[in-house]
């Protein structure tokens, strides 16, 4: 049986950033769905199976770490990667599986996504 592509939920309040990140992930072979806020993200997660969440940290409303905490409450094994524009790491960053900087570049981002998925025990659809 061929393995289908992993589904990644990409969250960011900036539309351009969101689209470009989605395209990069798609180029790397993933299926991508998007959300513009933590609320939207949680909504999508309730209705759809997702293999990894890649979220921006600083968003209006709930931050990435707050979203990560909520995700881990409901789906403890669902991996979450937080990607941030700020160079300093917030104190509660460890709630996510990985906290990375946007400045690390698309290749590093894809590397981390691949590594996290490989290590993940989360049930695949």
């Amino acid at each position: 049986m061929t393995e289908s592509a992993a589904v990644i939920l990409c969250v960011d309040d900036e539309p351009n950033s969101l689209v470009l990140r989605k395209l990069v992930l798609q180029k790397a072979g993933y299926e991508v769905i998007t959300a513009s806020s933590a609320t939207q993200a949680l909504d999508l997660l309730a209705r759809q199976q997702v293999d990894l969440v890649l979220s921006d940290q600083l968003m209006p409303g709930q931050t990435g770490t707050q979203l990560a905490r909520q995700i881990k409450n409901s789906w403890p094994a669902l991996p979450v990667i937080l990607i941030s524009g700020v160079n300093e790491i917030p104190p509660d960053a460890s709630v996510a599986d990985v906290f990375m900087s946007k400045v690390e570049g698309p290749v590093a981002m894809c590397d981390k996504v691949r590594a996290v998925l490989a290590a993940s025990n989360f049930p695949r659809h």
């Binding site: 990140r21 524009g85 700020v86 300093e88 790491i89 104190p91 400045v103 698309p106 590093a108 996290v116």
Partner: protein, 522 residues
């Protein structure tokens, strides 16, 4: 002598009987009666005793009373001694007048009327008593004046000692504003003498930009009597100007008139320097906050653009030239990313330092560089001899190690060995133990002429890559932890080796599982 002391009355008569009769008459006065039978005896008594009044018999055998009186009066001490002449001879008015004019003289005619004798003697006796009392009072007053003068001098000395020991420069001016006294500190600071600065001489110590304003302010005070305050630079003996806060207040006499002006100058240069430093700190803190905001504002669009060009680089609809352009843009964007990561994360945000496992941070950094290791063919040799935690900001440590490992890898483009060690140790001469991390490469080494400048900003030995900020920033971070960063470059027969070592003092005795190090699934 007080009001009740006895005075001495000298009675001169050659006839003892007469003396006895006078004694009888004057006895009830209660004064001291002394008898003399001749002019000579009288003088002897006068020289030994303080006599209030002399009763002089005019008709005496050797010299008459008037002649004796003349002799007595020649002596400077006895020029005003009261003499009552007892005369049987009727004196002319003219003679009496002469006597009265000479002063301290009276006449009693024979036969002597006791009441008259008593009255006249009493008069002179009282006069004498009063005079002696006045003299005593005078002496008393003089003694008091002396005492007061001494006290005043003591007070002056106290004032001078005080004025010369206070840290301020002090001065006193008369009511017209002419300075006539300066304390020792003034002379010490300005290197002047009273001659140089008295009157209006102090003008020359003021900075030309401020002198006019200071003079105007002071003159206003001299005229209105209002205290004055101002801040200005004053030239010291070394020619340098320092800032002083100067105040002057008037001193009033008991009638409310201004007698003097008393002024002080307080050196506020250190205070101003502290204020300037505080302002600088605040500016730096503000810059830090702004830098944080800028970092975020730049990083977001930077990522978007980087992603866009990354996609364009391999976009099927672009020809080779267009994709080449996209690739060049990507390279330039990578440089920008490199710079923002380095320089903008230099400022600490207000967070708590947390127990950090240095070993874990190093592992994260090495993992981040894993591809670089593979591409360059560099072997990794890890020797972590300590699991100790230190109180730190994980991002800052990561920054430093990333810089050191990155530099080491760049020094070995054609392969080599990277040795990373973590050790718990104490710096020589230091009490707190700490963690030492060394990163050693087998690269081309550091030239001696570069060694001195290695930690300078914008200094780089790499021809194309690098901002030249990495080591400067790393050093800054390490110093914030009171730590040290050193390097050693050796040339061996087998090649060269460069080791950078970082020491951070202080270890935290926390359980390694408490460490909130970077988490990474690697």
């Amino acid at each position: 002598m007080n009001a009740h002391d006895k005075v001495n009355i000298l009675m001169v008569d050659d006839q003892p009987a007469k003396l006895l009769s006078y004694e009888a008459i004057l006895g009830e006065l209660g004064e001291n009666l002394i008898k003399a039978l001749s002019g000579r005896e009288a003088l002897e008594v006068l020289l030994k005793t303080d006599v209030a009044v002399v009763l002089m018999d005019v008709s005496m055998p050797e010299m008459d009373g008037f002649e004796i009186a003349e002799i007595i009066r020649q002596h400077p001490r006895f020029q005003k001694t009261a003499i009552i002449f007892i005369s049987a001879v009727h004196l002319t008015e003219l003679d009496r007048l002469k006597g009265y004019q000479r002063g301290a003289v009276d006449y009693i005619s024979v036969p002597v009327v006791p009441e008259v004798l008593r009255a006249k003697v009493t008069l002179f006796a009282e006069l004498h008593r009063k005079r002696r009392q006045l003299e005593a009072l005078n002496r008393d007053l003089e003694a008091r004046v002396l005492e007061r003068t001494e006290k005043l001098q003591e007070s002056e000395t106290q004032f001078r000692t005080l004025a010369n020991s206070i840290p301020q420069l002090a001065w006193i001016a008369n009511s017209g504003g002419d300075a006539f006294w300066f304390n020792q500190r003034w002379y010490d600071y300005t290197g002047t003498t009273l001659e140089d600065v008295g009157g209006a001489g102090w003008h020359k110590l003021h900075h030309p930009d401020h002198l006019a304003r200071v003079i105007k302010g002071l003159e206003h005070s001299w005229q209105t009597g209002e205290p004055w305050e101002d801040t200005f630079p004053l030239r010291g003996h070394d020619g340098e100007y320092r800032w002083f806060l100067s105040r002057t207040v008037p001193l009033f006499d008991s009638h409310g008139n201004i007698t003097r002006w008393f002024g002080t100058c307080t050196d506020i240069s250190r205070q101003m320097a502290a204020e300037e430093a505080l302002r600088k700190n605040e500016r730096l803190a503000a810059m830090g906050r702004v830098a944080g905001i800028i970092a975020h504002e730049i990083n977001n669009p930077l990522e978007a653009i980087t992603n866009a060009f990354y996609l364009l680089e391999s976009h099927p609809s672009l020809d080779k030239d267009a994709r080449s352009l996209a690739r060049m843009a990507s390279e330039e964007l990578a440089r920008i990313s490199h710079i923002t990561r380095q320089s903008l994360s230099f400022y600490r945000e207000s967070q708590q330092a947390v127990p950090v496992s240095v070993a874990t941070v190093l592992d994260d950094v090495l993992e981040l560089q894993a591809r670089h290791f593979r591409i360059s063919g560099v072997e990794l040799d890890k020797a972590y001899k300590s699991n100790q935690l230190i109180l730190a900001y994980p991002a800052e440590l990561k920054q430093v190690f990333l810089n050191l490992v990155g530099n080491a890898l760049q020094a070995m483009p054609a392969g080599g060995r990277l040795r990373v060690t973590v050790r718990e140790t104490a710096e020589r001469g230091r009490v707190p133990r700490g963690i030492r991390v060394s990163v050693c490469d087998t690269g081309s080494g550091i030239r001696p002429e570069d060694a001195k400048r290695l930690f300078e900003p914008f200094f780089t030995t790499k021809s194309t890559k690098g901002t030249g900020l990495g080591l400067w920033i790393s050093k800054g971070i390490v110093q914030k932890y009171d730590g040290t960063i050193k390097f050693r470059s050796l040339k061996l027969s087998t090649g060269s080796s460069t080791c950078f070592s970082v020491f951070i003092p202080g270890t935290v005795s926390a359980h390694p599982s408490d460490a909130s190090a970077l988490t990474g699934v690697m």
